[in-house]
Amino acid sequence: MDFSDTPQEAAFRAEAAAWLQDNVPTAEELAGLDDIAAAKLWQKRKYDAGWACIRWDKQFGGRGASPIEQVIWNQEESKYELPGSVFLIGQGMCAPTLMAWGKPEHHERFLPKLASGEDIWCQLFSEPAGGSDLAALRTKAERDGDDWIINGQKIWTSGAHYSDFGVLVVRTDPNVPKHKGLSYFFLDMKSPGIEIKPIKQLTGGANFNEVYFTDVRIPDSQRLGEVGQGWQVSLTTLMNERASIGGGGGAVNVDFAYKLANQVTIDDKPAIEDSAVRAKLADWYVQESGLRFTGYRSMTAISRGSDPGPENSIGKLVGAPKSQAMASFCMDLMEMSGAIWDENLSKEAGIVQMSYMGSPGARIAGGTDEIMANIIAERVLGMPQEPRMDKGIPFSEVPTGN
């Protein structure tokens, strides 16, 4: 048992690290670019050198890398402060779905532009009536010759306002049980009849949107999977939510809180000398360390050519509430000043306050704490689902609250 790379892994790591060192964009190169332009510059540079989407086939812009090489690349790339990726959903979720369910012409046309960053994709899944219960979605598609006509509303769509394409799951048959009446499409986000409205979050930012569909036409050739097979196709998308391996625990981590506790005082002594402070930091260190070494265990499984075990499913369930609790605690350490959220007055320009205000979103997005706990109980521990009132009856007869 050790933390060493195999010789091949070490060679790959060295190659990746060397390329990154020479090619990471400088501050001057990024000056004046907005987030998307900066992200596109970095993505195109990786693509041109064969470092984009490295697990994909070379013909689609990748380098045919192994899973462990992907992990190593992620580790090396994360050592740099780089433009935030607006491509995660497209490359991480939409592309694998296209690969699994699309036709060769779809692959040739869309995958290289996903890899190069020329196209940005979004995911149109959640609806006002279908969040945790995604399959309860109501946006409908009706056949009209070679087209489908879409009417309805999606919500929580990250990046819809700057995306070129989207993947969409809709109801094509309300008269069968809910999972059986869905179909899956991709579409041009500039299609007539699409209206995008940003949702202002409690942080003040607006990263996601409501997307309204009014008689939007999608050619049947942009359907993935059979009519009625949309749920299975959706699962491909959802299962490719990027596995986070070896996560560091966010900006407000034990390292941050430890430094803060050395700077502020309790009864004229450094807060770090207070036994209650020490106990709390120790507990969070156990969580951070536990996630890190769980990541190493998963990485070992990948290195040995097998799938990571279910233990990797705990990351978000541990990490998101921990961020919230740690940010709250750090504000407590600052006493009354903890409430100040001001770039100039707050410590570290307010990352504690930003983390606290953002963490409710992290506990909900991509599966709430409760859904993540259900997943562990059902898929890892083999416990049964709650009985469902909508099981086996036509979707149109399922009770609703409105």
Binding site: M1, D2, F3, S4, D5, T6, E9, I68, V254, Y258, I272, S275, R278, A279, L281, A282, D283, Y285, V286, Q287, S289, G290, L291, R292, F293, T294, Y296, R297, M299, T300, A301, I302, S303, R304, E311, I314, L317, V318, E370, M372, A373, N374, I376, A377, E378, V380, L381, G382, M383, P384, Q385, E386, P387
Partner: protein, 372 residues
């Protein structure tokens, strides 16, 4: 990345689990629970014959010379089966104290006996309530004769000798002594703890023979190094307990029906058990780190040990407590086995220092790493 046990170590795990499943079923734990016995001496003979007591002892002293990665595999299974044995006292504490501090003569005398299981050793550390320090120690040695009172001493009646922590006016304020417990002047009385399956004693020493183990006035540092090493091994036992409690709760919840369905289908129960799984997974991964640090004698051992230990304490207590809760009233009965894990989890959570003690050591280790 190679952060995993080897195939041989996995084979040992299977073998140990199978062996304890056969020779230490719940009925064997219950037999000790219901009797006045301190431990299952028949089982002790059997695990000694398997060589488990000899795992990390070098071959020159009659051991198997295996690594700590083998020992932690066995430790987890000891916890999983709630084995009523003095294994932690003899193997994690007495053997480790001798390996780290013993003279050649002391090792030659005791290690072969520890390896074969003919001798049982323990650590006599606590002197009643509260967190000990060199200043609080009342056990003293004058002209080579040791006097004092140790309470509670795990496996104090079963042990043949004890590593006794005594006060010293030199160095760090403490010295370790090897004390033969089968000599005049040593009186041992059973102390009932909340875990009836593990014997404890109060030991009075009245001017008895004691030989220094390691340097005079170097005992407190030696004790702390010993605690770091033992903490990793205790933490693996705690992970084993936590796993048993989780799956006992899961199995019960699957078979127990209320309001027309298995209680395992209620989210209140599922979320409780998912939380057990999360705590157990974090604890296990931290235990890997501890095992690695112990096995490589890493400078990171103090941090790794405290991290493993705090995680192990929390996982075992939570799983043991909520296992009973999941069982409802039946979990509170003498008849059900839930009590084994509840007793053992709490016992191990205070043996070799409480959660608060180890949380403090964890932060101290971070402070020392930052200062270095």
């Amino acid at each position: 990345m190679n952060f995993e046990f080897s195939d041989e170590q996995e084979l040992l795990r299977e073998q140990a689990r199978g062996f304890l499943g056969e020779h230490c079923p719940p009925s064997a734990v219950r037999a000790v629970l219901d009797s006045e016995a301190d431990h299952d001496s028949d089982l002790w003979r059997k695990v000694s014959e398997m060589g488990w007591t000899a795992t990390v002892i070098p071959e020159e002293f009659g051991g198997l010379g295996l690594s700590y990665l083998e020992l932690v595999v066995i430790a987890e299974e000891m916890g999983r089966s709630a084995a009523p044995l003095p294994f932690s006292s003899s193997v994690y504490l007495a053997t480790e104290a001798l390996l780290a501090n013993g003279s050649t003569a002391q090792k030659e005398k005791w290690l072969p006996l520890l390896a074969s299981g003919e001798a049982i050793g323990t650590l006599a550390f606590a002197e009643g309530e509260g967190r000990p320090s060199p200043k609080s120690l009342k056990t003293t040695v004058t002209d080579g004769k040791l006097s004092g009172r140790k309470l509670p001493v795990p496996d104090g009646r079963a042990a043949d000798f004890a590593v006794v922590v005594a006060s010293s006016d030199q160095g760090d304020g403490a010295t370790l002594y090897l004390v033969d417990l089968q000599q005049d002047g040593v009186s041992r009385v059973a102390v009932r703890t909340l875990d009836f399956t593990r014997g404890h004693a109060v030991i009075e020493f009245a001017n008895v023979d004691a030989e220094p183990l390691g340097g005079a006035g170097a005992g407190w540092a030696a004790l702390n190094q010993l605690l770091d090493r033992a903490a990793v091994l205790f933490a693996w036992e705690q992970v084993g307990i936590a796993e048993s409690a989780l799956y006992q709760a899961r199995d019960y919840a699957m078979g127990r029906y209320a309001f027309g369905r298995a209680i395992a289908s209620y989210q209140a129960i599922k979320h409780k058990l998912a939380e057990m799984y999360v705590k157990n997974t974090l604890a296990r991964s931290n235990c890997y780190y501890g095992a690695w640090a112990l096995n490589t004698n890493s400078a990171e051992l103090p941090l790794a040990a405290a991290t493993a230990r705090v995680g192990g304490i929390q996982a075992a207590l939570y799983a043991a407590e909520e296992n009973i809760q999941t069982h409802g009233g039946m979990g509170f009965t003498w008849e059900f086995d839930c009590q084994f894990y509840y007793r053992r989890a709490k016992l191990l959570s205070v043996n070799i220092g409480s959660e608060g003690f180890w949380q403090d050591r964890l932060i101290t280790a971070i402070e020392q790493n930052n200062a270095a």
